[in-house]
C-alpha cells in the first residue's frame, strides 16, 4: 500500500545543509495501522509530508499503490495536528466535511448522506449547521476526522492529531481511531511522540532515530484487535511493549547503540 524507499530530506540552513531525514525505508501493508514514534525534532512531520506529497524528498521516494508520490496521491486523506487551523472558519461543519467530496462527481444528496454518516461515526450527529469555532478542541479534531472519513480514503495519514487535546478527550479519540480503522478497513499511518499512544493504537510501531533520521527499530504489537483503555494499558504485555519502545527512544536520544 505505502512503500517508503530510502527517502531523505535536507534543509538548507544559512550556508550549510541540515539533514532532517537521512534515509528511511519501510512498508505498510493494505489495511494496516502503523504508528511512527521518535524523539522530538526527529523529522516525523517531514516524513509524513513527503508521504502525503506535500513536500518533495531530497532523495529516495515514497510509493502509494506502487506509484511514485510526486504530489498528493489520490485516495489519501491527511489529519493534521493543528485542527483549529485546518478547518475553514468560513464554512459550517457540514460544508467543511463536504468540501473534498465536491470534486468526486457525487450528487448533492450523496454528498449530504456521506457527511451525515461521517459525522455520526465521530459522534457529532446533526452538527452540520454549527460553526467549527463554536466547538471544543476535541470536537474540532473529530470534524477533521469526519472530513477524512467522508472522503473514504484508502490511506489515512495522521500527524500527531491528538497532541493538543486534553488526556480524557485523547483517550476517546484513540478509541475512535481504532474503531474507524477496524470498521472501514483503511490503511492508517499514525505519527505521535507519545509512546503509550503508539503501543495502544498500532499493530506495529516504527521507532525513528534522532536526526539525521533513520529507522531505528520496528516493534510488533501483539495485543490483539480488541483494546481497552483500562484493561489493555494495565496489562503486562502492554508494559513490556511500552518498555521496549521507551528503551529504543532513549537510545535514539543519546544517539548511541
Amino acid at each position: 500500500m505505502l512503500e517508503v524507499a530510502g527517502i531523505g530530506r535536507d534543509y538548507r540552513v544559512d550556508g550549510g545543509t541540515h539533514t532532517a531525514v537521512d534515509s528511511l525505508s519501510f512498508q505498510v501493508a493494505e489495511g494496516e495501522l502503523v504508528c511512527i514514534v521518535g524523539p522530538s525534532g526527529c523529522g516525523k512531520t517531514t516524513l509524513l509530508r513527503m508521504c502525503a506529497g506535500l513536500l518533495a524528498p531530497t532523495r529516495g521516494r515514497a510509493l502509494v499503490d506502487g506509484r511514485e508520490v510526486d504530489g498528493p496521491p489520490e485516495g489519501t486523506a491527511v489529519v493534521f495536528q493543528e485542527y483549529g487551523r485546518s478547518l475553514f472558519p468560513w464554512m459550517r461543519v457540514g460544508a467543511n466535511v463536504e468540501l473534498p467530496l465536491k470534486r468526486l462527481g457525487l450528487t448533492r444528496g450523496e454528498r449530504r448522506n456521506r457527511v451525515a454518516e461521517a459525522l455520526r461515526l465521530v459522534d457529532l450527529e446533526g452538527k452540520e449547521r454549527v460553526w467549527p469555532w463554536q466547538l471544543s478542541g476535541g470536537m474540532q479534531q473529530r470534524v477533521a476526522i469526519a472530513r477524512a472519513v467522508a472522503f473514504r480514503p484508502r490511506l489515512l495519514l495522521m500527524d500527531e492529531p491528538f497532541a493538543a487535546v486534553d488526556a480524557q478527550t485523547r483517550a476517546d479519540l484513540e478509541d475512535l481511531i481504532r474503531d474507524l480503522w477496524s470498521r472501514l478497513g483503511i490503511t492508517v499511518v499514525f505519527i505521535t511522540h507519545d509512546i503509550d499512544e503508539s503501543v495502544y493504537l498500532g499493530q506495529r510501531v516504527l521507532v525513528l532515530s534522532s536526526p539525521p533520521t533513520t529507522l531505528r527499530a520496528e516493534i510488533h504489537v501483539d495485543l490483539g484487535p480488541d483494546r481497552d483503555q483500562l484493561e489493555t494499558r494495565s496489562g503486562p504485555a502492554f508494559a513490556k511493549l511500552r518498555a521496549a519502545v521507551w528503551r529504543e527512544i532513549q537510545a535514539a536520544k543519546r544517539g548511541g547503540e
Binding site: 504530489g71 498528493p72 493543528e82 487551523r85 468560513w90 470534486r103 469555532w133 472522503f151
Partner: protein, 256 residues
C-alpha cells in the same frame, strides 16, 4: 430591546448634537460666507430638484460606481495573481509601495492629458486612487492564508480553481473588505476632485459652479448632500460587510 434603543441613541446622538450646535451658532449669522443653517436647509430643497439629481447627482454616482467596480475587479484579480506568485510579488513589491505613496489627486492633470475630460477621465481618476488599498490588502490577505489550510486543500486535491474560490479568497476576505472600505472613501474624494477640474456635470462641478457664482447657501447645501451621500455609502458598505464577513465577526465576538 433596551440595548437596541441605547445603541440607536448613541449612533444618532453626536450627529444630532452637532447639527443642533451648527443650527444655533449660525442662527443669527449675517456673514456672507457662513449663512444660517436654516437658510442652507431652505436652499437645499430649492437647489436639488429632480432635474439636478438627474444632471448632477446621478452622473456622479454612476462614475463612482463604475470606478469603484473597476477598482475592485482589478485590485482583487491582480492582488490574487501577485500574492500567489512569489517572483511577481518580489518584483512588484517596491513599485506598489511607491504607487501607493503617490497622492492620487496629483494624477488628475496627468490623466486628463491622455484620457481627455469626459467620463472616462473621471473613472480613470477614481480607479487610479481606489485600486491601491484593494490591491495591497488583497496581496497581504492572499499571502497570509494559513499554511495548514493550503496543505489541507492540497492533500484533498481540491485543484487550483476550487482552492482559490473556496480557500484562498474566503481566507483573504477580511483584508480585502478592509481595502474596499478604504477604497470607497478615496473614491468619493476623487469623484469630487475630478469633477472640479473639468466637467459639465456632477456634484463636484455643481459645488464649484455655486461657489463661482457666489450662490453660497447652494454651495453649502451641495457639501451637505455630499456628506449625506458618503454616510449612505458607508451604511450600505456595512450591510455588505456584515453579509460577507458574517463568520468573521461572529467568530471574533465568540472568542472575545
Amino acid at each position: 430591546m433596551v440595548n437596541a434603543i441605547r445603541k440607536a441613541l448613541l449612533a444618532i446622538g453626536l450627529p444630532a448634537v452637532l447639527f443642533a450646535a451648527w443650527w444655533l451658532a449660525s442662527a443669527g449669522s449675517t456673514s456672507f460666507y457662513f449663512p444660517p443653517l436654516s437658510a442652507i436647509i431652505a436652499e437645499f430643497g430649492e437647489t436639488w430638484t429632480a432635474e439636478r439629481w438627474r444632471d448632477d447627482v446621478l452622473p456622479s454616482v454612476a462614475r463612482l460606481g463604475a470606478g469603484y467596480a473597476l477598482s475592485c475587479i482589478a485590485g482583487i484579480a491582480l492582488g490574487v495573481l501577485i500574492g500567489r506568485t512569489r517572483w511577481l510579488f518580489r518584483l512588484t513589491e517596491p513599485v506598489l509601495e511607491f504607487a501607493r505613496a503617490v497622492p492620487p489627486p496629483v494624477l488628475v492633470p496627468v490623466i486628463m492629458l491622455f484620457a481627455g475630460i469626459g467620463d472616462g477621465m473621471k473613472v480613470a481618476v477614481i480607479v487610479s486612487g481606489s485600486v491601491w488599498p484593494i490591491l495591497l490588502n488583497t496581496v497581504a490577505g492572499v499571502r497570509s492564508v494559513e499554511p495548514v489550510q493550503l496543505d489541507t486543500a492540497a492533500a484533498y486535491r481540491l485543484g487550483r480553481t476550487r482552492t482559490l474560490l473556496e480557500v484562498v479568497l474566503p481566507s483573504a476576505s477580511p483584508r480585502i473588505v478592509t481595502g474596499m472600505r478604504q477604497a470607497l472613501a478615496i473614491g468619493v474624494i476623487l469623484m469630487v476632485i475630478s469633477e472640479m477640474f473639468a466637467a459639465q456635470s456632477g456634484l463636484g462641478f455643481a459645488i464649484v459652479q455655486f461657489q463661482r457664482s457666489y450662490a453660497i447657501p447652494a454651495m453649502w447645501s451641495g457639501i451637505l448632500l455630499l456628506g449625506c451621500l458618503g454616510a449612505a455609502l458607508a451604511a450600505l458598505f456595512n450591510v455588505f460587510d456584515r453579509a460577507v464577513l458574517h463568520w468573521y465577526h461572529h467568530q471574533r465576538a465568540e472568542e472575545a
